[in-house]
């Protein structure tokens, strides 16, 4: 497994400089059949990451730029009258591709947002009674601006739940920043990328993630963590059972990336923050507080001996 995935990671790291952890999380997200939400300011390399992943895995890629006037039909497609045939024909929207980069998803109205989010949940699209299956693998990378920015519609908690991880890229380290400034832009480096993994290989690996061993002992640690979020005074409510399932699934993918066929507490710790922060509603509004409180829970919950 390592021989398959290690080159993938190294290729990605060549394009997205200095963010190996975020890159690894993104790949884990893909392996766990989850969707990824990237929250950051414009210009941090969100799009580059999405494009690089598409290219490395050989997925067909579509980018949807969300704006405040985008309509659901712009995303899923619409029935359009064909003059020659005299019938309505369904024209597939951009959602019918294996990797979708939904840029600035929180600039769109809730109606448009939910069109994409429903597609993500059901992996199918229904237009006027006709159901269309979405391709496999189906991976959405949505980016959003921090919610305090002007002209944003925050995603409701129920829809945030559809994303397995929320990651923040953040500013690059000074060293990498210099390389960035000196060298070519990300787009140029993208062109040098090669497809490292066939799609059926990717689907096979996704199947292997399911078989990763999760021992009862590890589950007790997961339950301790979940209970800690439920009892913490910092949050309005704790992690739901679905959130717990997502956490275990993510940890399995991470373990596989670590070349193991069983999950260790360390895997849980690695994916805990990205999995739960956006699923928790902080009592105070600042999101950095939520991050801090989640880190506290990780630090204060002992790993069972």
């Amino acid at each position: 497994m390592q021989q398959l995935l290690a080159p993938v990671l190294s290729q990605l790291n060549k394009v997205v400089l200095g963010k190996p952890h975020q890159v690894k999380l993104s790949v884990a997200c893909l392996l766990a059949r989850g969707h990824l939400l990237i929250e950051d300011l414009p210009g941090m390399g969100k799009t580059t990451l999405g494009q690089a992943i598409a290219k490395v895995f050989g997925l067909d890629f579509q980018r949807i730029q969300f704006t405040s006037d985008i309509l659901p039909a712009d995303i899923v497609g619409a029935n359009i009258f064909d003059r020659e045939k005299g019938t309505f024909e369904f024209h597939k929207g951009p959602v019918f591709s294996q990797l979708i980069l939904a840029d600035e998803i929180n600039r769109a109205t809730p109606k448009a947002q939910s069109a994409l989010l429903e597609a993500m949940e059901e992996t199918q699209v229904t237009v006027e009674g006709q159901t269309f299956q979405l391709p496999e693998p189906f991976f959405v990378i949505a980016t959003q601006n921090p919610s305090h920015q002007i002209g944003t519609y925050s995603l409701p908690e129920s829809q945030l739940d559809r994303f397995l991880f929320k990651v923040e890229l953040g500013y690059p380290d000074p060293g990498f920043e210099k390389i960035l400034l000196k060298g070519h832009s990300g787009r140029v480096r993208l062109d040098t990328l090669e497809t490292m993994l066939e799609i059926d290989k990717l689907i096979e690996i996704q199947g292997q993630v399911d078989k990763v061993m999760v021992s009862e002992h590890l589950l007790s640690y997961v339950m301790d963590l979940i209970n800690a979020t439920r009892q913490s005074p910092d949050f309005a409510h704790g992690i739901s059972p679905r959130g717990g399932l997502a956490l275990v699934g993510a940890a399995k993918a991470w373990a596989l990336l670590e070349n193991r066929d069983f999950v260790l507490p360390e895997d849980i710790q690695q994916v805990f923050g990205p999995t739960v922060v956006h699923r928790l509603q902080s009592v105070t509004t600042s999101s950095s507080n939520a991050q801090q409180a989640v880190d506290d829970i990780l630090q204060q919950t002992p790993v069972p001996a």
Binding site: H217, L264, P302
Partner: protein, 656 residues
């Protein structure tokens, strides 16, 4: 959560310990010998410096210093037990413990000992201020404990403060319950041998000049609460000691004997009152004249003074009654007569002669008393607290010479003259008057109310109180001395200036009376809640005297049992450990013993990889163990017993 893995070099923890320790020691600094106070301060500063500049003090230096301070305490007190020495020693050790503190356990120990050391301050002062201070200090200690156990140390101080305040409030009901119900010991809990510190108040002998010094003290001598009615201020003579022996210079107590049987009482008590006597480190206690029934454990002597078997080293609360007694049929025994007539030979002969001459001009003893008082009233006898110093023939010098002095001079001269004329007489010292506090309905008697007066034996009447000082000016006994300072400048001018007394006027006086009322309540209700008070209180609740003890036992057993249940509950959470867990914890403890720090949220893989970087030898030795552990815990759900046993044995065999 295993907090023992938290180390104390997190930011803020050491300064927090230093501050908590300083808060605990501050009240003691005022009472301990100077060198002990300074040493503890120096140790605190030393701790701060070593922390700030990362200095390590060699262990042997600390040992030497500890031994030296032990020797110092012994040299100071000639013992290392007892109240003063014990507190001095424990304060020093407390500061040393902080100096050498290096892990969680030390810090926790310091914080818990803080509670004990804090309470020792109460052995020196039981005032309201001290009570409030201790309460606040308790909050500080609790904050320290919370900060020590919190991952972020002293971050979020506001929250920590709130939390500890809440904890204290939660403990309050238990505290109140225990305060009222926990069986009190008869006598003070801290019945330690006390020091030989000099007491305040009147003394057991009288040289003219002694009491004058007292007038400058505004301290409270005692408080009196009359149950029904109170005598008028001018009739309030608080009897303390009776002096019947005079050697020409000094008045002393004469021989006397305890009264076994109290005189027959015919009437209802004239006055009933409760006294809060401030500690004065002597045995005598004060009561109104015509005393009859002394409080429990106090002896009444035939000169109608009271003595306790023990010194009044702590505030003493007692109740007493006074009765009117008809002494008309009493006779003085021969030796009593002799005792109260005796004068030193060849001393103050001029006054003796004068007295005999004057006595010859009157008909009776009563007339003679009037004559002498009239002499004082009409002749230019002055009242001053700073009379001329008389070294020889003090009676002659005063009575016939300077004619100025205060109660001691007047009473000793008066008794001298009476005795010279053949009338038995004696000096009585104590306090006169008292300030009424309308807010608490009681009287405050201050050291400045100290007074000396006389008693003269009249056949058919008994001992009659005569206050020659009152003859100087009739209003002397109607208003207390202080209030006269302003009005009668020429009499008391010097006194006012010298003592530096500020007159409490208007609002200030009201406030000080209110404050004193509060203090009186504190003393009587809270500090004075002793075994007797507890019995009274419990019998009011309908618990019989014979049952209260069982109540105490029941309380104690309840507390112990609930503690036990709580403890078992805590234990049960960590009870069902299996072999793998026990062995793994053993392994971690072995690694910790090698100085390798392990956080509680570290999984086996992280620990192992950190070992690889920090300590290759430990890594090499422990790697197979971690592999086994991971296999047992995370690769299989139901590992075989053989594998578990193997892991257990490997851990047992693991060493470096």
């Amino acid at each position: 959560m295993n907090t023992k893995q938290l180390h104390i070099y997190r930011p803020g923890i050491i300064p927090m310990l230093i501050i908590v320790q300083a808060i605990v020691l501050v009240p003691l600094w005022f009472y301990m010998p100077l060198w002990i106070s300074l040493s503890t301060i120096a140790l605190l500063i030393a701790k701060y410096l070593t922390y700030r500049f990362q200095i390590k003090i060699p262990y042997w230096v600390i040992v030497l210093l500890v031994l030296a301070s032990l020797a110092g305490v012994y040299l100071q007190f000639r013992t290392i037990s007892g109240r003063e020495a014990g507190i001095g020693l424990i304060s020093l050790m407390y500061a040393f413990k902080l100096l050498e503190a290096k892990n969680y356990r030390d810090a926790a120990l310091i914080l818990f000992i803080s509670f004990f050391i804090l309470v020792t301050s109460f052995l020196f002062s039981e005032t309201i201020w001290m009570g409030l201070y201790l309460m606040l200090a308790m909050v500080a200690i609790l904050m320290g404990i919370i900060a020590l156990n919190s991952l972020h140390g002293i971050q979020g101080l506001k929250n920590i403060g709130k939390l500890s305040g809440v904890a204290l409030l939660q403990a309050l009901p238990i505290m109140i319950l225990l305060f009222f119900l926990f069986p009190r010991l008869p006598g003070p809990l801290w019945a330690m041998p006390s020091d030989s510190e000099a007491g305040t108040g009147i003394s057991d002998s009288m040289n003219p000049g002694d009491i004058g010094a007292l007038h400058t003290f505004d301290d409270i001598a005692f408080r009196v609460d009359f149950v029904t009615k109170a005598p008028s201020n001018s009739q309030m003579y608080w009897r303390g000691l009776v002096f019947s022996e005079f050697d020409g210079f000094t008045w002393r107590e004469g021989e006397r004997s305890p009264l076994r049987q109290v005189e027959q009482v015919v009437s209802q008590p004239e006055y009933q009152y409760k006294v809060q006597l401030e500690p004065h480190k002597n045995r005598w206690i004060f009561g109104l004249e015509d005393v009859v029934t002394p409080p429990n454990g106090v002896f009444l002597f035939n000169d109608h003074t009271w003595r306790r078997p023990q010194k009044v080293n702590q505030r003493f609360l007692y109740q007493a009654q006074s009765y009117k007694i008809d002494y008309s049929s009493y006779k003085l025994s021969d030796w009593q007569k002799e005792q109260n007539l005796k004068l030193p030979d060849a001393s103050n002969e001029k006054t003796k002669k004068w007295a005999i001459e004057q006595y010859a001009t009157v008909q009776s003893a009563q007339d003679f008393i009037s004559l002498i008082l009239n002499t004082i009233r009409q002749q230019p006898y002055r009242y001053t607290l700073t009379p001329e110093i008389l070294e020889q023939e003090i009676i002659d010098g005063f009575w016939l010479g300077t004619r100025e002095g205060f109660c001691e001079h007047y009473s000793s001269a008066f008794v001298f003259i009476m005795r010279a004329a053949g009338i038995p007489a004696r000096v009585v010292t104590g306090y006169q008057g008292g300030e009424y506090n309308p807010y608490g309905d009681y009287y405050i008697v201050r050291q400045s109310d100290a007074h000396a007066w006389t008693e003269v034996w009249l056949e058919g009447e008994g001992w009659r109180r005569v206050d020659p000082t009152a003859a100087i000016h009739p209003s002397r006994v109607d208003v207390s001395l202080q209030n006269q300072v302003g009005a009668r400048d020429d009499w008391f001018g010097e006194f006012g200036k010298e003592s530096g007394l500020q007159l409490p006027t208007g609002l200030l006086q009201k406030l000080s009376l209110r404050w004193d009322a509060l203090q009186s309540f504190w003393n009587e209700t809270l500090m004075g809640y002793d075994q007797d008070a507890q019995h009274d209180w419990l019998s009011k609740l309908g618990i019989k005297h014979s049952q209260w003890r069982y109540l105490g036992y029941a309380l104690l057993i309840t507390i112990l049992l609930s503690g036990l249940v709580f403890g078992l509950w805590i234990l049960s959470k960590s009870r069902n450990r299996d072999t793998v867990e026990i062995s793994y914890i053993r392994l971690l403890n072995k690694l910790k013993a090698q100085g390798f720090n392990i956080r509680m949220n570290e999984g086996p893989y992280d620990i192992s990889s950190r070992l690889e970087q920090e300590s290759p030898e430990l890594y090499a030795a422990s790697k197979p163990l971690f592999e086994q552990y991971i296999r047992l815990r995370y690769q299989k759900n139901y590992p075989s017993k053989v594998a578990i046993q193997h892991f257990k044995q490997s851990v047992s065999a693991f060493k470096l």
